[in-house]
């Protein structure tokens, strides 16, 4: 069956698979039409293009790139088994394999070990739907940084001089002393929880607060959240 361009959401963005037999001009036209039909959805999307065995020349690929750029779609990589296509892609500064989008990154080298990415594992059933995050099972030391679009959970301490930036919540099962930013994309409902909450600086969405000077206080778990436009902390007991 020819003619059907396929779209699939993957961790790195959108994977676009084009039909093998159609002419390149038709492929481009079809793709443009599809994007225009759902312009809002595609705007700003990161796209990987799978052309399989097809040999795509440099000017053909450049043509496609222009069309995508006009529609604010970022072509990140081109997947192909053809050497011609791979060469053309490289010359245009495109990757020839799937690359991680720049927004999710961690400077802790082996974080990926703790992140569940195995899509082939049988999915476990859950009655309650959660949201995604990373779990890091070690202490963050000075100079180390964890950034994630979802939540960040640390089993260990977060020492002074380290930083966490999360699109969602931050939970630290240990002492929190570094700089922490929850709801980095502006979500004020995000919270920061720690067994001992003494961050150098605590940010939620666009709000910033610092810990009160530490006198001989009793250590207890706390939860920081936003109420009436102010960051507040309360004992984390419920």
């Amino acid at each position: 069956m020819s003619g059907a361009i396929q779209f699939k959401g993957i961790r790195q963005g959108l994977l676009v698979t084009i039909p093998p037999d159609d002419e390149w001009a038709k492929v481009i036209a079809d793709l443009a039409t599809r994007i225009d039909q759902q312009a809002a959805f595609f705007k700003g999307a990161s796209v990987a293009l799978d052309v399989d065995k097809r040999a795509v020349r440099r000017h053909e690929l450049a043509n496609l790139l222009t069309i995508l750029q006009k529609r604010d779609v970022n072509l990140i990589s081109v997947l192909s088994t053809s050497a011609t296509t791979q060469g053309a892609a490289r010359k245009l500064g495109l990757a020839t394999e799937l690359v991680e989008p720049p927004a999710t990154q961690s400077h802790i080298p082996d974080t990926s070990r703790f992140v569940e990415t195995n899509s082939e594992a049988p999915s476990l059933k859950s009655d309650v739907h959660g949201t995604e995050g990373v779990l890091i099972r070690r202490t963050l030391r000075s100079g180390q940084s964890v950034q994630n679009n979802g939540h960040v959970v640390i089993l260990g301490d977060v020492n002074a001089g380290s930083e966490i930036v999360a699109g969602g919540d931050v939970v630290v099962w240990g002492k929190l002393r570094g700089v922490v930013h929850a709801g980095a994309y502006g979500d004020e409902t995000c919270v920061v929880c720690a067994l001992d909450l003494q961050p150098t600086q605590l940010r939620i969405a666009s709000l910033i607060s610092v810990s009160p000077p530490s006198k001989k206080r009793r250590k207890h778990p706390e939860r920081a959240y936003v109420e009436d436009g102010v960051i507040k902390a309360e004992p984390w007991t419920d």
Binding site: I108, R141, S142, G143, Q144, A160, S162
Partner: protein, 262 residues
């Protein structure tokens, strides 16, 4: 004989890496171990001064790496301890004169004929640090009971833990001022250890004798000497209790101890 390569590092400068390396090397040699100390602080060499060997240097580490001399020719024998030698740094070159691979090659050759290869790392986390830790089997992180030194030590430990093959890292807290700790004006050893959460191998009290002995290029005396000897013994696997930090404290306490009280 396969010796152990131990790198002494700190992140922050001026916390006592070189003093520690020199005294630890001398303490190990005094325990009849075969020891070689390498000064990896190319361009800012100091270890030779603290070991009192400055005037005996002919070749240095860069000469070895660049093939101008044999490894043996660059080894400066210590005047008091025949089983101790120094490989000095070059004073006229910089850190980029050697590579981590060079350090591994040199250390591997040395550990065949020594019990201990001690490497004195430069301050910082750049090239010089990478050179110094590349061949390490173990690392000793030296810090002072000050927040800036502890912060930098934390950074160093983080970098070491992130290595492909992490090596054991132990902590030396240098320059503890007993009076200040007792008054609560200084971070205590417990504070530092709880912040860094790594194993402690030694506590060295702050003492004026260190300045004198370093200037003269001889081993420390008094309580610091005891502290370094304790570290040397712990390195060799002995269980040595940490010295009581109260014992030269106030007179009343000493009397109470003397007469077997509390």
């Amino acid at each position: 004989m396969t010796g152990r390569v131990i790198t002494i590092t700190s992140g922050k400068g001026g916390v006592g890496k070189t003093t520690t390396t020199a005294n630890l090397a001398m303490a190990l040699a005094a325990l009849e171990k075969k020891v070689v100390a390498i000064d990896a602080d190319i361009g800012l060499r100091n270890l030779d001064l603290m070991m009192g060997l400055e005037n005996r240097i002919v070749y240095d580490l860069v000469d070895v790496v660049e093939g101008r001399c044999k490894l043996k020719q660059a080894m400066v024998k210590h005047k008091d301890y025949p089983s101790l030698a120094l490989i000095p740094a070059s004073q006229v070159r910089d850190k980029t004169a050697i590579s981590p691979q060079d350090m591994i090659t040199v250390a591997n050759e040395l550990k065949d004929v020594h019990d201990f290869v001690l490497i004195d790392s430069p301050a910082g986390i750049e090239w010089g640090f990478k050179n110094a830790v590349a061949p390490a089997d173990e690392v000793l992180v030296v810090t002072n009971p000050e927040v800036s030194a502890v912060r930098d030590a934390d950074r160093i430990i983080g970098l070491l833990e992130a290595e492909e093959k992490p090596v054991p890292v132990r902590l030396i807290v240098n320059r503890i001022k007993l009076g200040m700790v007792r008054r609560g004006d200084m971070l205590s050893v417990e504070d530092v250890v709880s912040l860094l959460s790594i194993k402690l191998i030694g506590v060295v009290p702050d003492d004026e004798v260190i300045i004198k002995s370093s200037n003269e290029g001889v081993a420390a005396t008094g309580r610091p000497k005891q502290a370094f000897e304790d570290i040397a013994r712990r390195l060799m696997g002995e269980k040595v209790p940490f010295m009581s930090l109260d014992s030269n404290g106030n007179v009343l306490e000493r009397f109470r101890k003397l007469f077997g009280g509390g």
